[in-house]
């Protein structure tokens, strides 16, 4: 079978062959773990009996779903994802539109704005331990100096909002980057036509530019929501699960159930529930995209 004269059949096999390493890798490192997840979620298992799980039905799921901690973690992640995504997109959009005239002629100005994206979120969490420290941190220091008082940033009441700010400040540049690219991709003729029709710059923005950027807005909001929902690194290094578990995100809940409590079954059941939830979200989004696709 000479490669130079591919029949449809043999060329299909060649394409499949090229994709094989990736498929094998996925089956090994994601397919197999998925199967293990499903089996172990239905089994009684401890660190001692890790290799010999005994089927036990849905009791792990009952344990996870009956745990108030599971629901408060889900609630934390949901709120955190929505609020940070909204904050990042709003600020990112405002910056992209406002700074566009400045950046168009000086591309290098992008680099300092993108820098936060290059720092490990875990490192950023550690850095804020310094920034907010009551004795050596500049933020409490200057607040005392200027206002004579400083809030405690990491107690049960304020830790959530502190983390929202920490997460948003790091990832606003991501939203900004996407919006700036979308903004720049709008052809100048479109803006000129709007100007000729007598639209002022606010009208151009709300009637022309924002609708054209809508797909990008949706994508950025979705990506940022997902990353906010599954947040782990910066929360873990800054406050852990927080005072009284106040900052237990879904990822931290699973991590602690497994490593700290040794509740393997519960942790895995929670993983599967999370898996099913993200699968459902992706399925619905895919369905929406397909439905919209042919229509437009």
């Amino acid at each position: 079978m000479p490669a130079s004269s591919p029949t449809t059949d043999s060329s299909a096999r060649q394409w499949a062959l090229l994709a094989t390493p990736l498929v094998v890798f996925l089956l090994l490192f994601l397919g197999f773990p998925t199967v293990v997840d499903l089996i172990y979620s239905l089994s009684r298992v401890s660190f001692e009996t890790l290799r010999s799980p005994s089927l036990s039905g849905v009791e792990n799921y009952v344990a996870a779903l009956a745990d108030p901690g599971f629901w408060s973690a889900a609630w934390f992640s949901l709120r955190f994802g929505i609020i940070t995504a909204a904050a990042e997109c709003i600020v990112g959009l405002a910056l992209a539109v406002y700074l566009a005239p400045l950046l168009e002629k000086r591309a290098w100005l992008m680099a300092p704005l993108m820098l936060p994206l290059m720092v490990a979120p875990a490192m950023v969490g550690l850095m804020y331990r310094l920034v907010l420290h009551e004795f050596v941190g500049p933020v409490p220091y200057y607040l005392y100096l200027w206002f004579g008082n400083s809030p405690t940033f990491l107690d049960a009441g304020s830790a959530f909002w502190t983390l929202v700010v920490v997460e948003s400040l790091q990832w606003t540049p991501f939203a900004f980057l996407l919006f700036y690219a979308a903004y720049e991709a709008i052809p100048d003729e479109v803006r000129q036509a709007a100007a000729i029709d007598g639209a002022n710059s606010l009208q151009t923005l709300t009637r022309i530019e924002l609708p054209l950027m809508a797909p990008t807005l949706a994508v950025a909001a979705f990506i940022r929501f997902i990353d906010g929902f599954r947040v782990f690194d910066n929360v873990y290094t800054l406050v852990g699960s927080g005072p009284g578990g106040a900052t237990t995100s879904m990822s931290i809940y699973i991590y602690e159930a497994f490593f700290k409590q040794g509740a393997i079954g519960k942790a895995i059941a929670a993983s599967v529930v999370l898996f099913a939830a993200s699968f459902a979200v992706l399925f619905v989004l895919g369905w929406l995209a397909r439905r919209r696709g042919p229509a437009t």
Binding site: P2, A3, S4, P6, A12, Q14, W15, A16, L18, A19, P21, L22, L26, F29, F32, P33, T34, Y40, L50, R51, Y98, L99, L102, L109, P112, L113, M114, L115, A120, A122, M123, L126, M127, Y128, L130, V131, H133, V136, P138, P140, Y141, L169, T172, A181, P215, A220, F222, R230, F232, T237, S251, I254, F258, F259, I264, I268, S271, V272, L274, S278
Partner: protein, 273 residues
């Protein structure tokens, strides 16, 4: 000076967004004595002592070990992701193979909280003896890099004129030869970008480093926090700041160098994915 307000907004945005890095950088040059009286954003008597302390190997802390682990694992995570996705991306772009299942599956991984695979992978690594090894960490970092690598490379290959392939095929070249000799050289820019950004992403990963390593293969994102508790008593903020700067510097420098390409591929990966 119509532009002045924009410049002010720009400078404020840069300072606020990079505030934690700026504070850490400033603090890393303060002596312990100065730190206790001056938490402000300036340094009275700059010193390199914190860096010297961090860069000196002690019996419990070895910064070179952590940096080395991050380097090796990130290289594996970055290069293996390309080795796996490049042929598959070629199959998607030219053979239409995997466009309906393989590509969406991998790209959607971006939206799946990877913690759901963490526990079985931990067990699997225990069986395979991959816990606390650079290779094991590198394999997981590969997973993290697959979605962006796949979509960016598939787009890069799809953007090439099909005449390239056809001309080579007329000359008698097979599919594999065309991929290696024709397609690979002309996608070098995209491959480099994917490699660099994959390296940055891998270097900055934390969750799997925390779960899958304990002593021998600890990456710097995890190892940095060891310095916080190093002296028994309270945190020594000078050395702690220095280690954060040392650990954050490689990806930041790469990012500054390649910001244009990274910005392009992030945008393309998000919007086209």
């Amino acid at each position: 000076m119509k532009r002045a307000p924009r410049w002010i907004v720009y400078v404020v945005a840069v300072l606020v967004l990079n505030f934690p890095v700026i504070v850490t950088l400033v603090t890393s040059f303060k002596s312990g004595g100065e730190l206790s009286v001056n938490p402000g954003l300036w340094v009275n008597q700059p010193t390199f002592d914190n860096y010297l302390k961090v860069l000196t190997v002690s019996d419990r802390l070895n910064i070179y070990g952590y940096l080395g682990n991050s380097l090796v694992a990130s290289l594996i995570g970055s290069l293996l992701a390309i080795a796996l996705t490049f042929p598959a991306a070629y199959a998607v772009a030219r053979g239409n193979f995997g466009r309906r299942l393989l590509l969406p599956t991998v790209v959607n991984l971006r939206a799946v909280p990877l913690i759901i695979f963490a526990i079985p992978i931990y067990m699997m690594f225990q069986w395979l003896g991959l816990l606390d090894t650079q290779l094991g960490l590198g394999l997981i970092l590969t997973i993290v890099n697959l979605p962006l690598a796949f979509i960016v490379l598939a787009n890069a290959i799809a953007d090439l004129p099909i005449e390239l392939d056809e001309a080579a095929r007329i000359d008698g070249a097979g599919t594999f030869t065309i991929m290696v000799r024709i397609i690979w050289p002309v996608t070098r820019a995209a491959v480099t970008t994917v490699a660099i950004f994959g390296f940055i992403t891998a270097w900055n990963e934390f969750l799997f480093g925390l779960m899958l390593t304990t002593t021998k293969a600890v990456p710097v994102t995890v190892g940095a926090s060891f310095f916080f508790a190093a002296s028994g008593g309270g945190v020594q903020w000078g050395p702690a700041s220095a280690v954060m700067i040392v650990g954050a510097l490689p990806p930041m420098l790469l990012g500054l160098l390649m910001y244009r390409q990274i910005g392009g591929s992030l945008t393309a990966g998000a919007v086209k994915g």
